[in-house]
């Protein structure tokens, strides 16, 4: 058993950490989240140039690994810096699907451009009213001439308006299909919005969007398996990201306890706050453990149980860390100008992607009791 990062992983971690520290300060991020695009094309280009997209792709397609630990190392550091660049949507979800072994059509050829930072992706899967149920697919592809016509709606699609290509799940003549829909396609309407945690998302609806045979990335069982893997990787990435955000909240709070003076002493001298701080640190260690465990099981047949365990526990602990950090900061903790406030928001809102604590706790029960 060895819990140390390999040299390659340490280098990757340091590189991302340094980049985030140097290029992603509060003002920069604040401008980005208030901008129309919702991300910085310049920073995204630099991240791609550093090889970050490649880092989470398998070697088969020219990536650098794409294992659980690769994802964890990158996401943890992006989480520390509450980076809102479209990494999850484009690299983890989108590029992961383009890189699937059984992918067909024109999709795989997009990969080079995606890896180079020139092409953004989004996965449009969850539907209005389906809440966190990934099995609901009412969007439909019907035969139309040489190709298909796509009809349906997708809800809270991260990067949905930014993406150059949206990967849409739909029921087709051959079962589940993942279809590529380019930005601005006729018949696709986009209602763009920002999220509380600073990301850009959209409601998408499709009304007779033309989909060529060549646009079909995956079909049938291959599409189901690939979608399952994509959601698993996305879920795991969020767990790792939240761990990084928790550590950032912890460091900020610890620093505050050491420097903020009241009644003539640093407030960290008060036992009431010391014990709260200890409990926060303890839970963060637990979060790290469950994320490590999920990383090690990402390619195994116990994947889903461990993912639900990780999502449920990091969700529970993330909320606790967010609330405790804000509480210990006092009034300043509830102001926009404090970085920690945005970390706290990310920690709380991260629970709303791919199933929250309750959803995954229930799912974990089923998977664990069946084992």
């Amino acid at each position: 058993m060895d819990f140390n990062l390999s040299e390659d992983h340490s280098l990757l971690k340091d590189m991302v950490a340094r980049f985030v520290r140097q290029k992603y300060d509060f003002e920069t991020r604040d401008k980005i989240i208030k901008s129309d695009t919702g991300y910085s094309p310049e920073i995204w280009g630099e991240l791609a140039e550093l090889g970050l997209v490649a880092a989470v792709l398998p070697e088969r397609v020219g990536g650098l690994g794409g294992t659980g630990i690769d994802i964890m190392v990158v996401m943890e550091e992006l989480g520390r810096g509450i980076v809102v660049e479209p990494f999850l949507a484009t690299a983890v979800l989108g590029a992961g699907l383009l890189a699937e072994e059984s992918a067909t059509g024109r999709g795989p050829a997009l990969l080079d451009d995606v890896v180079a930072g020139g092409h953004l992706l989004a996965l449009a899967h969850y539907e209005p009213g389906a809440r966190y149920n990934a099995d609901v697919v009412n969007a439909a592809l019907t035969a139309d001439g040489d190709g298909y016509s796509l009809a349906g709606a997708k809800s809270v699609v991260i990067s949905g308006a930014q993406a150059d290509t949206v990967i849409v799940s739909a029921k087709g003549p051959n079962g589940l299909a993942l279809a590529l829909v380019p930005k601005g396609a006729g018949g696709m309407s986009v209602r763009a919005f920002k999220t509380h945690d600073g990301f850009a998302a959209a409601e998408l609806s499709f009304d007779g969007v033309a989909v060529a045979k060549d646009d079909i990335l995956l079909e049938g069982k291959a599409a189901e398996d690939a979608l399952g893997r994509a959601i698993a990787r996305g879920t795991f990435a969020l767990c790792a990201e939240s761990l990084g955000a928790m550590e950032s909240a912890r460091d900020a709070t610890l620093e505050y306890l050491r420097t903020r003076t009241q009644f003539g002493v640093p407030i960290g001298k008060f036992q009431a706050l010391q014990h709260r701080m200890v409990d926060m640190c303890l839970e963060i260690e637990q979060a790290r453990s469950i994320v490590l465990l999920a990383a090690s099981k990402l390619e195994s047949d116990e994947r889903e149980k461990h993912l639900s365990a990780a999502k449920a526990l990091t969700g529970r602990i993330g909320r606790m860390v967010a609330e405790e950090a804000v509480q210990m900061h006092g009034g300043i903790g509830v102001t926009w100008e404090l970085t920690l406030a945005h970390v706290a928001k990310r920690l709380v809102m991260i629970d709303h992607y791919f199933g929250d604590t309750d959803h995954h706790l229930k799912r974990f029960q089923k998977l664990s009791n069946a084992a």
């Binding site: 819990f3 610890l254 960290g268 200890v278 260690e285 469950i290 365990a309 526990l313 529970r316």
Partner: protein
Amino acid sequence: MRLDYTDEDKAFREEVRSFLAEKLPSHISKAVKAGRMPAREDYITWQRILNEKGWAVHSWPKEHGGSGFTPFQKHIFEEECVKAGAPELPPFGLNMLGPVLIAFGSEEQKAHYLPRILNCDDWWCQGYSEPGAGSDLASLKTKAVRDGDHYIVNGQKTWTTMGQYADWIFCLVRTSSAGKPQEGISFLLIDMDTPGVEMRPIITIEGGHEVNEVFFQDVKVPVENLVGEENKGWTYAKYLLQHERVGIAGVAAAKEGLKKLKRIAAETDAGDGSTLIEDPAFATRIANVELDLMAMELTNLRVLAQAQAGGAPGAESSMLKIKGSVIRQEISDLLRRAVGPYALPFMPELELPGANEEPIGPDGANAFAGHYFNRRKYSIYGGSNEIQRNIISKMILGL
């Protein structure tokens, strides 16, 4: 990064398993699995079997009779012991006094006491806490006054676990009142048969007898029974407490408890034809503690990996103590709830060795409420969880 055991560790686990299958007496494992306290002679029997194999203690260097296990091997060994229903050996001689003697004792003390500890020829108990010195241990008042070749000891110790079985007690006593309270403490070994030593049972909340009070009235203790230097006892005591907290997470025991809980919940009718494990409220509580335990098992392994790499057990063990105690208490709460009204009968006689009276309600149910009350001790002993938080705050967070 590699989260699985090495082939050597896996082979070691097999070795431990077959050893336990062959050597652990079934009457002992049966009692342990039923949650009963084994009899004194059962502990001694098991310790001697282990000692013959060289596996009685892991915290000692090999030249003194330690097993030489790596931290991971120790963990595997303990896990298999719990699974097999082996009694947890009393730690007082093996894991508390032993390391102190090895580090600070004289050559004569080591030569005399260590082999006797290993073979359980002497049963030791711990004389630390006093009625007025609990979390604030350094305020202890039991006095030892030098009188020629002897110390004369007067005072009282309390919470003396398994003291009713003990032949000897190691005590912290006050030999000076000058300076800070920590500076006047000495570490003394006292024969329980010495005139003036008196033991009285403390009956704990559930009705059991694990702990005692020990009274000392003009007890004559030879000066050669002093460990290390006079007035340096606090240093030795802190050293001991560090060893005491190792393994305190109780991961293996918690895992067995959870397994039992899930089995009972799956077998228990919720009263409406469904089983308890299908009850959303109950199942949610099980799932939550299961998550905490999954994470803690890995946290424990992470701490072990640090130890394996040569790190000393530090304040991290305080983290494990807090989390481990709370998880085990939660499991004991759920076990009590799982059996519903059959948690109520108070029939401690059913838990005594050799009891054969028919229980009321499902098998094992009789013990659960008692265990629940007894397990409140987990977050109190070995330095209360609040004291552990103080330690972490100071040692890790630097607050």
